[in-house]
């Protein structure tokens, strides 16, 4: 009974964190800020879900497989996110929310390039589903 309660709490919290991360994927404005909510899903959401299932099954072969799966997701998810960030920076995608707090003198340098920012802004979902597909072809050739 207690085991069911604890594992239910863990699994419910994990589902909640997955939902919050999905909201972030839709709502956040930039690829670099969307990465944050993706890593929320991959570390906290997956961690809590797998922890709930581990509590449920106890020490067994299934529990060992769950620990292995948790290790894989927990360590390889941030690796992939880091690779996406590095590839996006190398391809010239500017972070939308760049803000240099080191000094006021370098403030002019820290302003994002306006031309590329307009392209990256969150599109209206209804309007740009059909528009985004041909645009991606030219963008791919660009990179």
């Amino acid at each position: 009974m207690l085991v069911d309660l604890i594992s239910g709490l863990f699994i419910g919290a994990g589902g909640l964190f997955v939902l919050i991360g999905a909201l972030g994927i839709i709502r956040l404005p930039d690829v670099f800020s969307r990465m944050q909510s993706v890593s929320l899903i991959e570390t906290v959401g997956a961690g809590l879900l797998c922890m709930g299932f581990i509590v449920k099954v106890g020490f067994s072969l299934v529990g060992l497989k769950l620990i292995l799966l948790l290790t894989i997701i927990f360590f390889l998810g941030p690796v992939v996110t880091h690779a996406v960030a590095q590839a996006a920076l190398a391809a010239g995608v500017k972070p939308l929310l760049v803000h240099d707090r080191r000094s006021a003198a370098t403030k002019a340098d820290a302003q994002p390039v306006s031309a590329s920012v307009d392209k990256i802004k969150t599109p209206n979902v209804k309007a740009s589903v059909k528009k985004a597909l041909p645009k991606s072809g030219s963008k791919k050739a660009d990179i």
């Binding site: 594992s7 239910g8 699994i11 419910g12 994990g14 589902g15 909640l16 997955v18 939902l19 991360g21 999905a22 909201l23 994927i25 839709i26 690829v31 969307r34 990465m35 993706v38 899903i41 991959e42 959401g45 997956a46 879900l49 797998c50 709930g52 299932f53 449920k56 099954v57 299934v62 497989k65 769950l66 292995l68 799966l69 894989i72 997701i73 390889l76 998810g77 690796v79 992939v80 996110t81 690779a83 996406v84 590095q86 590839a87 996006a88 391809a91 995608v93 392209k119 990256i120 599109p123 979902v125 740009s128 589903v129 985004a132 597909l133 645009k135 991606s136 963008k139 791919k140 990179i143």
Partner: protein, 97 residues
């Protein structure tokens, strides 16, 4: 509670698919594809427990490893334009002489 987690994962997968269709960059699409893969692993685990068949964890393990390898491969292709490039050698070419 298994049902709630399964439905939450399905809703999150719908959001990731919408982002993969809409996303302006190729990197948005890659991030969304990787998210869909990770959520598919979690969905396999949840659905296996929901149906009372935890043997599906083997499929989930294989899928997780394949997902990471596929994403890293596509990202390497988009970064260097070539899959056989040696990034470390390229960077330290001057030091190595």
């Amino acid at each position: 509670m298994y049902l709630f987690a399964t439905i939450a994962i399905l809703i999150a997968m719908c959001c990731a698919v919408a982002r993969a269709v809409v996303g302006p960059n190729i990197f948005d699409r890659m991030l969304a594809a990787n998210t869909i893969g990770s959520l598919a692993v979690l969905l396999l685990v949840c659905f296996g427990f929901l149906m009372g068949r935890p043997e599906w964890l083997d499929i989930a393990l294989t899928y997780g490893l394949l997902n990471t390898a596929a994403t890293l491969t596509v990202l390497k292709y988009y970064r260097h334009g070539d899959l056989s490039v040696d990034a470390d050698h390229e960077k330290g070419a001057d030091d190595a002489g």
